[in-house]
Amino acid sequence: MMSAAEELYQALIMERSKAPRFGGRPALFDAQGHGENAMCGDKVQVFWRRGGAVRHEAQGCAIMAASADLMAQAVAGKTPAQVAALRAAFDEMVASGEENPALGDLNALAGVARFRSRIRCARLPWVALDEALKEGQVHG
């Protein structure tokens, strides 16, 4: 039996939260952002390099950690404006539960919509990225 909850914790999320492809603090980066969920202690650092390479250090639940890794993958090479558009689409998707072809692998998180308290877990890395991009703009 595969319940909604188990669907949410589907292969891609489990895989990316356990073995992130974009994890770790890079030697070089141009800006960083921080996200924290005071309620549960989830924490994420996002490191941004001009040109759009993003890495993260995510400490927390599977949804947040997978979201961070899938985000890093999705925004690679994107301009800040493109990132903003993607974030808006992502926010919409996790709120509505409706997949969006433009979001690619990020759609793995569509199931979060049914777990309302967890939506902010999925969004936390994006908050951190936003902070990094703002810092990047000031410094750039």
Binding site: L8, M14, G41, G60, C61, A62, F115
Partner: protein, 410 residues
């Protein structure tokens, strides 16, 4: 107080919500330490007030007001008897335990303590018994000291000794039962310890009051606080017990109707306790509801409740010990029905979400005891907590749920 027989099936019928389904599954409510469900007796007491006997209290000379005032003040008598207070005047009604503690910090501590004095709290306090003292420290120039706990989650008496060593401590504010570790603290010993060193003691009884008979005179507590909503009562009502002589000397906290003796445009004089501390229209309906909750709990009796919860806790500990990788926080000798735990890989939030889909409500996070998380070396835990209506089968359901989660996270 004659104890009615402890019949769990009957007791569960007293709580209408327990028949609810969640996500198509029977509700397994293991979050009572955050707030307990309400028995019909409480719901009916509140409904009765609103349907048959309601008016503002203390102010009216008419029948509805007199009768409502009686019911309101009768609840004070019930609380006084429940805590074995010396006098009904020692019972102040607040919104919740948080307000009770803040009231003491704003009134007692800002007058009885002087800059240079110190307050001690333990490492396992709820934010409600930590942050008000931080604010007091910053506003009033007293020192705040943190007494350590052992890895088992008990008071570290050596640390407590050293906090008191220089004789500056005037108040010890300590939980009577940790909402995270389940540890009971030895309230009588703590009170004797504080008193021997010239300090007063405030006990945060939010959790303890739910599971055990509390006798403030036997403890010799100076202040004792709890919330109605964890004791099967309504929200919006809390209790501050304080020794009469302390209340007598305390200035008011909030000002308004009911708490004054007389008022001119220039100045006001204060009513005696407890009314001095109950400004404005009180939580009338809720106070009467709390009285009904106390009646309910006393009718079952704490002996039966404690025995039931002890059995559940032992069963729960055994169950958790059987699941590979699960770590239970705290191992106090004297512990109650609150089990906080972690699992490898599965974050507390993931555990709570996955259990919820099986109809099982547990809490996940720092449980308003964020610094304690650091002390115990975790960032968050899942917590299952038991009430008088919790069954062994529910504890087993939790075990099965955790095994499923292990399979997902393996």
């Amino acid at each position: 107080m004659s104890a009615r027989e402890f019949n769990l099936d009957e007791i569960r019928k007293d709580f209408p919500i327990l028949a609810q389904q969640v996500h198509g599954r029977a509700l397994v409510f293991l979050d009572s330490a955050a707030s307990a469900q309400k028995p019909r007796a409480v719901i009916e007491a509140m409904t009765h007030v609103m349907e048959a006997q309601y008016a503002n209290v203390h102010r009216g000379l008419h029948w509805m007001s007199e009768r409502t005032s009686d019911a309101y003040e009768a609840a004070r008598d019930k609380v006084a008897a429940f805590l074995n207070a010396r006098a009904r005047e020692e019972i102040v009604f607040t919104r919740n335990a948080t307000e009770s503690i803040n009231l003491v910090a704003y009134t007692y501590a800002r007058t009885a303590l002087r800059p240079g004095d110190a307050v001690v709290v333990s490492q396992m306090e709820h934010h409600a018994n930590l942050v008000p003292w931080q604010i007091l420290r910053d506003a009033h120039g007293v020192e705040l000291r943190i007494a350590k706990i052992t890895d088992a989650g008990e008071i570290d008496w050596e640390s407590l000794e050293s906090c008191f060593a220089d004789g500056k401590v005037k108040l010890l504010a300590c939980t009577h039962m940790s909402n995270v570790l389940g540890s009971y603290t030895p309230a009588e010993r703590l009170a004797a310890f504080a008193h021997a060193r010239g300090a007063r003691i405030l006990l945060d009884g939010c959790q303890a009051i739910v599971h055990r008979a509390v006798d403030v005179q036997a403890i010799d507590a100076d202040f004792y606080v709890f919330s109605g909503h964890k004791l099967y009562g309504p929200t919006g009502i809390g209790v501050l017990y304080a020794k009469r002589e302390l209340l007598d000397a305390m200035p008011p906290f909030m000002a308004g109707g009911e708490m004054i003796e007389s008022v001119s445009y220039e100045r006001a004089t204060w009513a005696p306790p407890p009314h001095r501390f109950e400004a404005g229209t009180p939580a009338i309906i809720e106070t009467i509801g709390l009285g009904a909750a106390i009646d309910y709990v006393r009718a079952i009796g704490f002996e039966a409740i404690a025995a039931h919860e002890r059995a559940l806790t032992e069963h729960g500990l055994k169950m958790l010990a059987g699941i590979e990788g699960v770590r239970v926080l705290g191992a106090a000798q004297d512990r109650g029905g609150v089990l906080s735990f972690t699992m490898p890989d599965a974050h507390a939030h993931d555990i709570a979400t996955l259990l919820d889909r099986q109809g099982i409500a547990v809490r996940a996070g720092h449980h308003c005891a964020e610094p304690l998380m650091g002390r115990m070396g975790v960032s968050a835990t899942a917590r299952a907590s038991f009430a008088l209506y919790t069954t062994r089968e529910e504890v087993d359901a939790l075990g099965e749920g955790l095994l499923r989660i292990r399979r997902i996270f393996r």
